[in-house]
C-alpha cells in the first residue's frame, strides 16, 4: 500500500490507508473475475476508434497565455512557478 501510494504521489493518513486496504481488496476481488476469462488470441482494445494520430504542419499556432494561466498558480513570481527548494 505504501509503495502504490508513493507511486501515485499520494500521502495517506493511517486511517485513510486502513480504509483503502479494505475497499481496494473488495475492488480487486471484483475485478479478479477477469482472470478466469479465456482471452487467448484476442487483440487488446485500447481505444474505441481505429485511428492514428493526426499530424499538422510544424507551425506555431499557440499564443502566449503565460500571465493569464499563472493567475491560477498557487505561487508564481516573475513568470516562474515557485516550489520548495529542490537543490541545496
Amino acid at each position: 500500500m505504501d509503495h502504490i501510494a508513493h507511486l501515485a504521489r499520494l500521502a495517506l493518513t493511517e486511517a485513510e490507508a486502513g480504509d483503502c486496504v479494505t475497499k481496494l481488496s473488495r475492488i480487486l476481488d471484483m475485478v479478479d473475475q477477469l482472470q478466469r476469462v479465456d482471452t487467448a488470441g484476442v487483440e487488446p482494445m485500447a481505444h474505441p476508434l481505429p485511428m492514428v494520430q493526426r499530424l499538422r504542419a510544424d507551425k506555431v499556432t499557440e499564443q502566449d497565455h503565460r500571465d493569464e494561466y499563472q493567475r491560477n498558480a498557487p505561487r508564481a513570481e516573475q513568470g516562474l512557478y515557485l516550489v520548495p527548494r529542490v537543490i541545496e
Binding site: I4, L7, L34, V37, P44, R75
Partner: protein
C-alpha cells in the same frame, strides 16, 4: 413559465412572444427558490447570463437567430468556462477559474445559447450518486431523500426540476444515462469522438464523451446538432459529417429491428423496472418495430473491465494535479515531493484517491499484464458482442439501471455495490457507441429509465427510435411534485 420543448420556446422567442431576458430572469428566480433544496448548482452566473440573454435578444431582433438562440441551459462543472469557476466537483479545483472555454461551451455560445451556471457533479466525475462531490450531494427532485444519480447528478436535477430545459453532461461509464434514468428525464451520450473533449476535464480519455440531459429526444437532437462536429484540438475528434439529427426524428418505426439481450434482465434487475421496460417493448411492437432477442454473452465482464481501464486512465490523467501550476496547494510541505503528496492528499476526496490507487496498482510493474492488458482484451470481447448484435438489429433496448433512485448514503460504504449500478451502461462506453436513456414509467413514485443503444456514429437512429416512443407515450412529460412556493410560477 414552462421550460420543456425547446423548439416551442425557440418559436416563441422568434415571434417575440417572450424575450431571452424574460426567460433567463425567470430561470434565475427558479434557481434561487429551488436550488437551496436541490444543491444542483455549484456556480450561478447571473450577470453573464443576463448579458448573454440581451445579446441573444439583439440577435433575434436582427433575424439572425439559430434554433437555440436565447435558450437558457446549464453546464456540468467539468467543462471549462472562461472567467468562471470550474471545479469539477473537487476541492482540488475549488479556486480554479478557467482561462478558456471548452469546445462544446464555445459551440453552444456561438449558437446563442444562454448559460446560467455550472452544475454539481461527483468529484472528477467519479461516482454514480453525486455523493462524492466536494460541494455536497444533489437531491433528487422526485424524492429529496434520494440520489439523482451521477456523475452528472446536478445536470439531471436541474432539468428534472424544471429549472432549465437542458444541461450538458459527460458520460464515461453511464454518467449521463444513469442520472437521466433516476431523475426521469432524457439523457443522450453520442458516439465516442462525436463531441470534442477539448476543455472537458479528463477522467478516462478512451471513454469520456460529452452529451446532453434534456426533457425529450427531440430537444436532445437539437442540442447535439449544435455540439457535435470535428475539432482539431481533440486528437480523438472524428472528422466526419454530422447528420441532420432533427430531420431524422420523423421516420416511422415500421420495419425497425430492436434487439433485446436476455443478459439485461438478470437477477439483479428490480422487478418493477423489468416490467416497465417490457411494457416499453410492447409499445415499440405496437408501432411496427420487430422485437428480436440478441445475445451479449460478455456483458457481465463490463463492470470488472471498466474498473480496471477507467482507474488506470484516471491515475495517469490526474497526475497533472501537483499543487504547482493550478489547483489546491498544501501549506504543510517542506520538500517538493511532500508538496505533491500533501496537496493531492488534501485536494482529492476518498473515491478519487481510491481510483488513483486502483489505477496505479493495475499499471504497476508485475501487474500490468494480469490486469490492464487482460482488461483491454475483455474490452475487445464486449465491443465484439455489440458489433455482432448490430449486424442484425438497428438498436438494442433494455433497462438503464438495475433499480430506481436509491437513498442518499445507501451505497457509500461499499464501492462495489455503487459500481454495480453501472452494469447496463458501461458496455456502451467500452465500445464507444451512442446510447440514450428515456423515461418509461414508474416504480412506485420513482421514474424508470429505458436505454436504447445504437451502432457507432448512428446517433440519428437512436434519437429517432427514442422520439417515436415519446410521440406515443407521455412519460417524458411527467414532472416531479414541486414545493408549494414554486407552483404559482409554472
Amino acid at each position: 413559465m414552462e421550460t420543456g420543448d425547446i423548439a416551442a420556446l425557440a418559436r416563441a422567442l422568434r415571434k417575440r412572444e417572450v424575450s431571452s431576458r424574460e426567460l433567463t430572469e425567470a430561470t434565475l428566480q427558479r434557481i434561487e427558490r429551488l436550488d437551496p433544496v436541490l444543491n444542483a448548482f455549484i456556480t450561478v452566473t447571473a450577470g453573464q447570463a443576463l448579458a448573454a440573454a440581451d445579446a441573444a435578444d439583439r440577435r433575434l431582433a436582427r433575424g439572425e437567430a439559430t434554433a437555440l438562440t436565447g435558450i437558457p441551459i446549464a453546464h456540468k462543472d467539468i467543462f471549462c468556462t472562461r472567467g468562471v469557476l470550474t471545479t469539477c466537483g473537487s476541492k482540488m479545483l475549488a479556486n480554479f477559474v478557467a482561462p478558456y472555454d471548452a469546445a462544446i461551451v464555445e459551440r453552444l455560445a456561438a449558437a446563442g445559447v444562454v448559460s446560467v451556471g455550472k452544475t454539481n457533479m461527483d468529484e472528477f466525475a467519479m461516482g454514480s450518486s453525486n455523493e462524492t462531490s466536494f460541494f455536497g450531494p444533489v437531491r433528487n427532485p422526485w424524492d429529496p431523500e434520494r440520489s439523482p444519480g451521477g456523475s452528472s447528478g446536478g445536470s439531471a436535477a436541474v432539468v428534472a426540476a424544471g429549472l432549465v430545459p437542458a444541461a450538458t453532461g459527460t458520460d464515461t461509464g453511464g454518467s449521463i444515462r444513469q442520472p437521466a434514468a433516476l431523475a426521469g428525464i432524457t439523457g443522450f451520450k453520442p458516439s465516442y469522438g462525436r463531441c470534442s473533449r477539448y476543455g472537458m476535464i479528463a477522467f478516462a480519455s478512451s471513454l469520456d464523451q460529452a452529451g446532453i440531459l434534456a426533457r425529450s429526444a427531440a430537444d436532445a437532437a437539437l442540442l447535439i446538432t449544435a455540439m457535435a462536429g470535428f475539432d482539431p484540438r481533440d486528437s480523438t475528434s472524428v472528422d466526419a459529417p454530422v447528420p441532420d439529427y432533427v430531420a431524422a426524428l420523423d421516420r416511422p418505426l415500421a420495419g425497425r429491428r430492436i434487439g433485446v439481450p436476455p443478459q439485461f434482465f438478470d437477477a439483479g434487475l428490480d422487478p418493477q423496472c423489468a416490467a416497465r421496460v417490457r411494457e416499453a417493448l410492447q409499445v415499440f411492437a405496437g408501432l411496427g418495430a420487430e422485437i428480436v432477442e440478441v445475445a451479449l454473452p460478455n456483458l457481465a465482464l463490463s463492470v470488472p473491465t471498466y474498473y480496471i481501464v477507467a482507474p488506470a486512465e484516471a491515475s495517469s490523467n490526474l497526475a497533472r494535479f501537483d499543487g504547482v501550476r493550478f489547483g489546491h496547494r498544501s501549506t504543510a510541505a517542506g520538500s517538493l515531493e511532500e508538496l505533491y503528496k500533501r496537496s493531492r492528499q488534501e485536494g482529492f476526496g476518498a473515491e478519487v484517491k481510491r481510483r488513483i490507487m486502483t489505477g496505479t496498482y493495475v499499471l504497476s510493474a508485475g501487474y500490468y499484464d494480469a490486469y490492464y492488458l487482460q482488461a483491454q482484451k475483455a474490452r475487445q470481447l464486449i465491443a465484439g458482442d455489440l458489433r455482432r448484435a448490430f449486424e442484425s438489429v438497428d438498436v438494442i433496448a433494455g433497462p438503464t439501471t438495475p433499480t430506481p433512485a436509491f437513498r442518499l448514503g445507501e451505497k457509500t460504504e461499499d464501492p462495489v455495490q455503487m459500481y454495480l449500478n453501472d452494469i447496463y451502461t458501461i458496455a456502451v462506453n467500452l465500445a464507444g457507441v451512442p446510447g440514450i436513456s428515456i423515461p418509461c414509467g414508474f416504480a412506485g413514485h420513482l421514474p424508470v429509465g429505458l436505454q436504447l443503444i445504437g451502432p457507432a456514429f448512428d446517433e440519428a437512429t437512436v434519437l429517432n427510435v427514442a422520439h417515436q416512443y415519446q410521440l406515443a407515450t407521455d412519460w417524458h412529460r411527467r414532472r416531479p411534485p414541486q414545493p408549494a412556493a414554486a407552483r404559482g410560477a409554472r
